[in-house]
């Protein structure tokens, strides 16, 4: 196999330097709160990373060609995410906040992949700078680190389209007509605007600046790291609702916002995936609300609506915040939440999971099977929103869905080697793979992943990254075909 090594090294160096720069922000936060140990840890990581990254970037000779092969694209994205998670975990280890390397890697991978699964039994004991960094990784990972790199450093001049495809989520139905750098930049513009608006709103609702920032990062990145052990239960109702609404907004396809900016809001509103997404949100909220009222776990209609709506948006967008220990809810409500865990957000959003569009297609593909059985010679095209889905996209979606289920099964079998119940093993894998965070039973919202062995934590971290990059990018690295010369 021939990789464009120089180009790969150049990009990875750029990523390293970028992470170094990003670490300066939590470093400053640590200084503000007078946490010298944390500040020193960030500085110790950031300065060499910036220097080494810059030096290596300069010293590596310009690649013979900027042409990015298919394999280069996959390799760059896959390796960047591992390097990122490893480098990002250094401050935790150096400061001694999370001394164990597997723990630190798990926590950082969980941050960058916007999973929000934690191994920490009590987050309130952590220094504020460290908590800030933990949540900031959500914000960085939400839109994709390479997209960010290319948006900031167009000078790299590499074919961003391939990388973009490997890093953004969901099958794309239309070819993007606008040029790539524009896309990356406008996506980040929308993302940043959303962040600023949410911070301001949270400030108005009475949260302090630090908390507003941390929860905003977790919300728009659909991550889920909190600063309190009981999640958002202790905050004002208004703050909870603001966060719920923004979680819902972050689960929507960002290209639709781009359309709105270009004064094509009508077209955006007609998007079939958006309609389905809102329908799922509404339907499950209503169902869980009724279940909560019947079981008497919430006082009054408004209260149960608030709890249900928050939890539905939080799980559907794969954020994972909670205002209530939903593991205690009635079983049908839990099963609905579990199904939302499979579904995830819309394509090209910051959410994880299978994506709404694929689930829509799953139903259509299943139904097409019935029709084909009755009329074997019929064409029976799969249509979404009145438009025919091309055969190859349909096939790749069904391959994705089955690979997703197979990985879930295989992962559950592996994790069940630990001394846990079967449902704990299953939901651990589901929660990590779909980038949600909390699951049920021993990994429920009031629990954490700390009890797993190092090997399982590493395995779950790889699953998180594989889930974030939509399986194929990571799994390709394990296929002989990728490394063969042909």
């Amino acid at each position: 196999m021939v990789l464009n090594k120089k180009l790969v090294i150049k990009v990875l160096c750029a990523v390293m330097a970028l992470v170094g720069f990003l670490m300066l922000i939590p470093c400053a936060v640590s200084l503000i709160y007078g946490e010298t140990v944390s500040a020193r840890a960030f500085a110790v990581c950031a300065v060499p990373m910036i220097a080494a990254g810059y030096a290596a970037f300069r010293l590596t000779k310009a690649p013979d060609t900027n042409a990015l092969g298919l394999r280069d694209g996959f390799f760059i994205v896959a390796s960047a995410w591992f390097v990122l998670s490893l480098l990002g975990s250094l401050p935790f280890m150096i400061s001694g906040t999370i001394p164990n390397v597997f723990d630190a890697f798990f926590e950082t991978a969980s941050g960058f992949t916007t999973t929000g699964a934690s191994i920490l039994p009590g987050v309130e004991d952590l220094p504020k700078g460290m908590l800030f960094w933990r949540s900031f990784t959500h914000w960085v990972g939400g839109m994709g680190i390479l997209v960010l790199t290319i948006a900031i450093l167009p000078a790299l001049g590499i074919g961003g389209q391939k990388i973009m495809r490997a890093e953004t989520t969901g099958p794309s139905m239309d070819k993007m007509t606008f040029t790539f750098n524009d896309t990356a930049r406008s996506l980040y513009l929308i993302y940043s605007a959303m962040t600023v608006i949410e911070v301001v709103l949270l400030l108005i609702s009475g949260m302090d600046l630090y908390d507003s920032l941390v929860y905003t990062f977790g919300t728009v990145g659909t991550g889920g790291f909190a600063t309190k052990n009981d999640g958002l239960a202790g905050y004002a109702v208004s703050s909870q609702i603001i966060i719920a609404v923004f979680m819902m907004l972050a689960g929507i396809n960002f290209n639709l916002y781009y359309l709105c900016l270009n004064k094509k809001a009508g077209q955006a509103l007609k998007d079939p995936e958006l309609k389905c997404y809102l329908g799922i949100t509404g339907g499950s909220t209503l169902f869980i609300m009724v279940m909560l009222i019947i079981s008497g776990q919430a006082a009054g209609i408004f209260d149960s609506f608030r709890l249900a709506y928050f939890q539905v948006t939080s799980i559907l967008t794969t954020t994972g915040y909670s205002t209530f220990n939903f593991d205690l809810w009635p079983l049908p409500a839990k099963v609905v939440l579990m199904m939302l865990m499979f579904i995830g957000g819309c394509a090209s959003s910051t959410g994880g999971g299978m994506k709404v569009i694929r689930v829509m297609m799953a139903f259509k593909i299943a139904w097409r099977g019935v029709q084909k059985r009755i009329h074997p010679s019929a064409l029976a095209p799969v249509k979404i929103g009145g438009r025919i889905v091309p055969q190859d996209i349909m096939r790749s979606v069904s391959e994705f869905l089955i690979l997703y289920l197979a990985t879930l099964l295989f992962g559950t079998v592996l994790v069940s080697l630990e001394k846990v119940s079967l449902m704990t093993a299953f939901t651990s894998v589901l929660a990590c793979f779909s980038n949600i965070g909390p699951g049920f039973e021993a990994v429920g919202p009031a629990m954490n992943f700390g009890f797993y062995s190092g090997a399982t934590k590493l395995f779950l971290s790889v699953l998180m990254i594989a889930g974030r990059l939509e399986l194929f990018t990571i799994f390709l690295m394990f296929t002989p075909a990728f490394w063969s010369k042909r």
């Binding site: 099963v335 097409r368 099977g369 069940s416 296929t479």
Partner: protein, 418 residues
Amino acid sequence: MQSVNRSNQNKMRLVSSIWLAACILGSLPYLITGYADSPVSAFFLSVSSFTTTGASLGSGLDGGLLLYYTACQWLGGLAILVFLSSLLPSVDSDSKSGLDSSFAGRSFSEVIKSREGNMLFLIYVSISLIMFIAMVCLGHVPLEALELTLTVCSTGGLGGTAFSAIDAGIKGTGAICIASMILSTISFTVYARLIRRDFAYVKKNTELRAYACLLVSSTLLICAANRISGVIPDIWQSFRAAGFHAVSFSSTTGLTNGDINSWPAFSKAVLCMLSFFGASSVSTGSGIKLIRIIIALKAIRRSFYRRIHPRVVMSLRINGKAISDDTVDQVMSFIIHYALLFLAGCFVFSFSAPDLETAFFSSSSLINNLGSGFGAVGAECGYDFLGPFGKLFGCFLMLAGRLEIYALMLPFSRDGRK
């Protein structure tokens, strides 16, 4: 083309109505004897027997009813072999001879009259006869031997009656059951080829090989897991238990011996996986079927390859023969459909199940026609907790799993209603 469509549609309509009629009529004995407290419960039992599920409502069936229950299972197994093989997708669509392809596109009556149809029947009867004779030779009472034979050869399950209550402590019963369960989960096309002395086909049969690998590896893994966790300290005993349950679950018979609910999560996970795709096509076993999993995995492997070499055109090969993209699409959509139905089952059963695990296993156990499971549906416990609506949905799942979904989906299709 129109006639082909018609015949397909008619075949499916015929299959689903015959099954439904049989299940409704077959529920009468449970009602009349007063074993079932309501028509829905009786229907559930009847569906559970005809679909070779072997699910019970809690209390074990006694003498006469158990014989009737197992006889229904045996008939169900026979019906599946003959009915479904005329509907099954043909894997080797281009091969001129061969049992598997000879059914595709033929009408049900043709299959019955054909040599292959007879052959399936004969193979099924002879496996049953051999097992029955072996059981009697071991010293079983003929009634017991008959009941066990009927339930094992059809991969049904004893429906709440404990295996230990019926094996009468005679040594070797387990071994014979294992052998018969394996024989009835191997694709019957293999036997047909053996009779024709087509050894080359048998030797390179992908599904058969996969079954052997799956069975051996899962037995060893379960054995090791049980030994390490200390549930069964004796290694030989652990091996026997692992082998028995791996075979029982992969064949979707669902016979259990001893308390498997206390087994480590790993063993349970492996057993559950086996029940989803352990059985081979054209056998009495149920579930997704191994051949579909093989095709799906090959399709996924191809999609990996395609990502690096987008312009390469590759066709999937099974048993050395290329299979069409249409067949692959059918298989993928079947698996997705199966997963959706399974999840729907989880949701419906969550209203009455005590915990998540029970809801999960009720659904997987019923759709796979397994019968037993873990949690509150483990071993000798029944499905009485499901309530009337849950039981009806359970019947739907059992029939859907048994009739490979499509035959049952027909009434919901717009074309089907015309």
